[in-house]
Symmetry: C2
Subunit: 345 residues, 2 copies
DNA sequence: CAATTTTTGATGTACGTAAATCAAAAATGT
DNA sequence: ACATTTTTGATTTACGTACATCAAAAATTG
């Protein structure tokens, strides 16, 4: 049988109350006695039954998740994962409030952060917009003892406790290697399609991609970056113009969202098979395009992992515990049509 | 506040005992009363506090994990994950026994299974050897009400409850697509290096790989399969002979273990950069070879995921609960040198 | 050595559920 | 209407920990 506090008390020759004082760092224990108890804990291999402890404490964790609104498939998937976490809140003793804000709007985000602040949560997770006033708002939360985790998009210099997202420079590098090798058999240039260079993730991905192309595939000509504002209609127009302008196009790296327009342009102009296309985020659209062969590879960050990691980290920070950073690192998944995961409800 | 059994009893106008009878499917409740209670549960949104329930039940899950011995890096990593799960056993109410057996020996595995049987565990996880007598032993366990999950290597027709491993046909297909596209720029043949065709995983991977090569890259010549018995020394010899025999070799797909010999042969003969090499399982060796460029891509199954999934499934089966198969599906990870996860301790 | 402070013990209640017992009430069959 | 069976209620104990209270013992101080 697993040892309990009673066993520890008996082994150490002290009362239950003393063991409790040691375990919960309460005052009023001589260091000699403390040592005796700790030795007993060590020899018995006692570990606190967390379930029973939480039950007794009635501990719960009120968290606020701030996510961008809009029809971005990835963000909607992320919201779905947060809602799934809310459904689990009973067993995880969390109490999650979802706070939607317009995308890419620093001012509104600052307001949302102070609104979250007023509800006095134990922690806040936020998809950050990279602006100094947002960083200030995050600082205020932290100064008030509220844990803050950035989600998907980071905010360096804000003093946030943790970033739950992928290394986007590495993601760009991975795309570069795939692009270079997939187009190895042919000539032609490569285009990069971004959402906006004002967003940190996109800048990082471009940096990684360009670096690998320059280092390892210097013969390949890189066209100037096209910014599609993650807008399917605009993207489609831009891509149509691109393929007309560049009959010799070997590949397109789409590092932002709004891939519907990209796919539409490629399929309507009959270029879906000839141009090597690499995109980000596995959504119903990108999945279909991958399966049909219009997209050749998708780099993905698992939104479910990110949300669950954010919650684990927020809990740990709220309890003042350490986080094993390596364990919370989010992987970059590569999907080809052959290793697509089964579609979930 | 979250509703409790007391609230449900009050709402339904019945006693605590009746609510308990409904919740735990105990007999002696009229269906009208049962309905009343269930309506109360629904309207209040009551969810059982699993922590409290487990505490009250004092439930624990004795499991046996049967793994092959030997210096196979992947298997040692798997063992490490099982030990990590043993360390968590306190909080997860599991009680895991590790049973090592010589690799690829059906007879010994049967003995190990009956030894496990005698300890009367709630469940058994086993890296299966594909043999009828093993299937028989698994059947005996299941007939005795013990849940059985196959790990990494499946055993169809044994009636096992679940397989915690990857779809190896899909893995082979993925390797095929990568090989075809990575070698797109050049002529030359492709070789396949297996451990043994007696093992199910290897057969499946070959099947998937060959299918994609035939369907999508019919011009590429596939050499006859080389069997290296997962033995580094033998593999090195065979690969050396191969590269001498086939000066025009474009790629090698190594679908088994023992990649140290492969890497050594390629590096010593100076072919490490010219031949496209795709291998399985991310180990310290394959990681180093990936980083140095000797291996171009590694397909991986996450041993940690597999072990945790196996435990979740064993628990569910032991409690007679349903498993959401889609949620327990193990993904095939693709690693390039650019998206390697940080090295863990 | 007495007075004071600090440390320890003993005990009880709480958390939300499980499980058992015994008595009471209601439904069923004849 | 009676006996019998089934259903329900009331109550208690337990799981392992947290936390509070009050008394007792030990250590420290003057």
């Amino acid at each position: 049988m697993r040892p309990t506090v009673h066993d520890v008390a008996a082994k150490a020759g002290v009362s239950l109350a003393t063991v409790d004082r040691v375990l919960n760092n309460r005052p009023g224990v001589r260091s000699v006695t403390r040592d005796r108890v700790e030795r007993a804990i060590a020899t018995l291999g006692y570990v606190r039954d967390v379930a029973a402890a939480n039950l007794a404490k009635g501990r719960n964790y009120p968290f606020v998740f701030i996510l961008p609104e809009g029809d971005n498939s990835f963000m909607r998937g992320l919201e779905g994962e947060v809602r799934a976490a809310m459904a689990r809140s009973a067993s995880e003793r969390t109490q999650i409030t979802l706070l939607p804000v317009p995308a890419f709007d620093a001012q509104v985000l600052v307001q949302a952060l102070s609104e979250a602040h007023e509800s006095r949560p134990a922690g806040v997770a936020v998809v950050a917009v990279d602006a100094p006033e947002v960083a200030e708002a995050v600082k205020r939360l932290r100064d008030d003892g509220i844990a803050v985790v950035t989600l998907v998009s980071d905010l360096p210099g804000s003093g946030r406790d943790h970033f739950a997202g992928v290394d986007n420079i590495a993601a760009g590098r991975t795309a570069g290697t795939l692009m270079g090798r997939f187009t190895g058999g042919r000539d032609g240039s490569v285009a990069v399609l971004a959402g906006s260079m004002l967003v940190r993730d996109h800048r990082d991905r471009l940096e990684g991609f360009s670096a690998v192309m320059a280092e390892e595939f210097p013969a390949r000509r890189l066209l100037p970056v096209i910014e599609g504002q993650d807008d399917p209609v605009l993207v489609e127009k831009l891509v149509r113009a691109l393929v007309e302008r560049e009959p010799d196009l070997a590949g397109i790296y789409s590092l932002g969202a709004g891939n519907r327009g990209l796919v539409a342009a490629l399929e309507k102009t009959g270029n879906s098979k000839t141009i090597c296309t690499i995109a980000h985020e596995l959504t119903p659209h990108s999945r279909a395009a991958l399966r049909s062969g219009t997209i050749d590879a998708v780099l993905n960050q698992d939104a479910g992992h990110e949300v669950r990691s954010a919650i684990r980290v927020l809990k740990a920070k709220a309890d003042g515990l350490a986080v094993i950073e390596a364990q919370e690192r989010i992987r970059i998944d590569i999907f080809l049509k052959d290793n697509l995961p089964i579609e979930q409800a």
